[in-house]
């Protein structure tokens, strides 16, 4: 509790601080400090979880198990990196917006921190209702951020995001209600009927018909939030229109949080009606997401949309791997959840710098990045390696561990489909990356951001590569524990 409360309070307090006019000018720095502090706390939390098992608080409304700790690590790490980068990025961007379109200073950071707060609450909530509220809150904050720029595209994307995710999240609420109903019957006491840890313990005696129905709605609801096909359609629009740091955070932290929501339902369902039923659904939706994303990746002209589809594909891998359910696959899936965040956020952020430098978001305007700016070019290549899952990026190991686990399960056909999708995606992404990285530098390309803005990017890349060679023992232990949580 001593860790949980500060962790949850830091971000909202930071958000309020950003809105204070006196501090608004330095809101960027505040956001960085707050998220960095949150990251430190997340490390402490992970250590506590490793040392003494789940950390609970607030009468079991909050509870951090290994999975929460893992997601918290992802959220805070990426949030810190994105905030750090945003310090350099947002001023440059805003300087180019029209005067009347600008938001008051500090507003962006406040929303950003609100989003972080929502995600952290979602990660740490033990009560499924609370989880729902957190994710809905994060959705609302991020909807404003998606529509942050006052251009028609941003409005359109924000609208679609808000509407689709609201429907999705409403379905998730229905799922929560259904689960609660079945729990109340068993427990007789409504106060604990939404506590996940309690639900899982009594899962065996829940009414399977309601649990199944709940899982279906949760799958559609949280699945829409996580970007599973065919509920994914908001994702390319939102990611391409949101400010780059926000897109990076959404595609990693928000994805992880929403997926955790789904996985919590999955764990209860599996414990209630047996593993095969819900895992079959997860595997099918995972593979479907991979297959749906693939063609879009091949014929895509815009960088951030490309990343969005790649994000769908990665969500597919994750869902697939965790759905398969063998310990190795789940380990691979969770590791993938962890490491793909570094790759994806890196890809978004470096893309932001390049898009500003090239004054275009279209990839055909980006040729010769490596020549124009060796640093950005190298980072871009690193991000690409992470996205396609090639060594030395850690995603290579996580993907193949997942597949190795999948081949040892009954879902071999799905695994083959996944491999096929991965291979085609590889061809598509390599093609785009080749066009961007190689070739003659554009004459007017200049990196508008200060060189210091590369620091967070290098940090992400370093983490991505380092994890490809060496998984620290505590992280390994944390992943192992998280696997236990899910099985």
């Amino acid at each position: 509790m001593l860790v949980l409360l500060p962790l949850l309070l830091l971000a909202p307090l930071g958000a309020i601080a950003c809105l204070v006019p006196a501090l608004a000018a330095r809101a960027g720095r505040i956001a960085t400090m707050v998220t960095a502090a949150a990251f430190a706390l997340a490390l402490v939390l992970a250590a506590r979880v490793l040392a003494g098992g789940p950390v609970a608080g607030a009468n079991l409304w909050l509870r951090a198990d290994a999975l929460s700790a893992l997601v918290t690590l992802v959220v805070t790490a990426i949030a810190a990196a994105c905030a750090w980068y945003g310090e350099y990025y947002m001023p440059v961007v805003l300087a180019r917006e029209r005067e009347q379109d600008r938001w008051p200073a500090g507003r962006y950071e406040a929303l950003y921190l609100a989003l972080v707060a929502g995600m952290l609450l979602g990660a740490l909530a033990n009560n499924l209702g609370l989880l729902w509220i957190a994710i809905e809150g994060a959705t609302l904050a991020s909807a404003l951020l998606v529509g942050y720029y006052r251009r028609p595209g941003a409005v359109e994307a924000g609208w679609k995001y808000l509407l689709l995710c609201s429907v999705g999240i409403a379905l998730a609420l229905l799922a929560t209600v259904l689960l609660y109903y079945s729990a109340v019957h068993v427990l007789g006491d409504g106060s604990r009927g939404l506590h996940w840890s309690v639900l899982r313990d009594v899962a065996g005696s829940l009414d399977p018909r309601f649990v199944k129905l709940a899982f279906l709605f949760a799958l559609a609801g949280y699945g829409a939030k996580a970007g599973l096909a065919p509920m994914h359609s908001w994702l390319p629009d939102a990611y391409s229109q949101a400010p780059t740091p926000v897109a990076a955070l959404m595609s990693t932290g928000l994805l992880a949080t929403s997926l955790t929501g789904l996985l919590r339902f999955h764990a209860v369902t599996a414990a209630c009606v047996g593993h095969e039923w819900s895992s079959g659904l997860l595997v099918s939706f995972g593979v479907l997401s991979m297959l749906v994303a693939t063609p879009f990746l091949l014929v895509q002209g815009e960088y951030k949309r490309l990343l969005a589809y790649s994000s769908i594909e990665h969500t597919g891998i994750l869902t697939f791997a965790i759905g398969v359910g063998t310990p190795l696959a789940v380990f691979g899936g969770l590791l993938h959840l962890f490491v793909q965040s570094f790759a994806k956020s890196l890809a978004f952020l470096v893309g932001g710098s390049i898009a500003r430098g090239a004054a275009s978001r279209r990839m055909d305007q980006w040729s010769g990045v490596l020549e124009a700016s060796p640093a950005l070019g190298t980072l871009l290549v690193g991000a690409g390696l992470g996205l396609v899952g090639l060594p030395p990026a850690a995603t290579f190991l996580s993907e193949w561990l997942s597949l190795a686990g999948a081949f040892a399960s009954p879902h071999r056909g799905a695994a083959v489909a996944a491999v096929v999708a991965l291979v085609i995606v590889f061809a598509g992404l390599t093609f785009h990356w080749g066009r961007m990285v190689l070739g003659r530098a554009r004459p007017r390309f200049t990196d508008l951001l200060p060189a210091a803005s590369h620091a967070p990017l290098w940090a992400l890349l370093a983490a991505l590569v380092l994890l490809g060679f060496w998984l620290p023992a505590p992280l390994r232990a944390l992943l192992d524990r998280a696997v236990e949580v899910l099985s």
């Binding site: 009560n127 509220i133 529509g147 006052r150 924000g158 609208w159 679609k160 409403a170 209600v177 390319p236």
Partner: protein, 224 residues
């Protein structure tokens, strides 16, 4: 908590009646081409929901459901429709001129959705379970109808109406099945809804600013 229905509640009861009104008002909204009329339908829908909640509260004597019921009536039956109305009037009370489905076709689809929902969820209940459970089919059906409303209408506000009806349906499930969730959750949900609707309103006016009307079919620049 006692989940059995108290004896005094008649079998042909208020809840069933109100549930019927709930579904009907949703269908009525789905049959409307005028935004304002749809908002009014939503208001009735919310009131029916509030009525059910109140009945449940009275029946079970739980105070927090009563509180939730009152809040529902105030927020969903009062604040939100008014907000939407104001928004609609600002946009000139736009008419849904060319919905993707005409009224008869739309009704057919809605009918099909209702049948699906009933057939899929009724099977869940054996005999002797809480009679309030008959609200679940209504709830799922209304969820689908709300979604259909969003799919078939081009006016941004109509889609918002669809969304809030959908939320009502889920609230109905919560109230009828479980006699309400823990109060904190209920509050949080309501707060989120309120903020959400405010946000939706904000976006509707932005759409009207940037695109000149509330027609969301114009929002198709982002594709592929």
């Amino acid at each position: 908590m006692n989940l059995q229905l108290p004896d005094w509640l008649p079998r042909s009861n208020t809840v069933n009646l109100l549930a019927g009104a709930f579904l009907l008002s949703a269908l009525y909204a789905a049959a409307q081409r005028r935004t304002l009329a749809a908002i009014t339908a939503y208001r009735f829908n919310s009131l029916a929901l509030g009525g059910i909640a109140l009945t449940v509260a009275l029946a079970t004597g739980t105070r927090h459901i009563a509180l939730a019921a009152l809040l529902v009536i105030a927020v969903k039956g009062g604040v939100i429709p008014s907000l939407l109305r104001k928004q609609a009037l600002r946009g000139g009370g736009a008419l849904e001129t060319e919905p993707y489905f005409g009224v008869p076709a739309g009704m057919l689809v809605c009918g099909a959705l209702v049948v699906i929902a009933f057939s899929q969820t009724r099977a869940l209940f054996g005999s002797g379970v809480s009679i309030l459970a008959s609200c679940l089919p209504v709830s799922v059906a209304t969820t689908l109808v709300g979604m259909f409303l969003m799919v078939s209408r081009k006016q941004a506000l109509m889609q918002v109406v669809g969304l809030v009806i959908l939320e009502n349906a889920i609230f109905l499930a919560a109230v009828s099945l479980t006699y309400g969730m823990p109060l904190v959750v209920e509050m949080g949900v309501l707060l989120d809804l309120l903020v959400g609707v405010a946000l939706l309103g904000l976006f509707v006016s932005r759409i009207e600013q940037t695109h000149g009307s509330g027609d969301t079919t114009k929002l198709s620049d982002l594709k592929g």
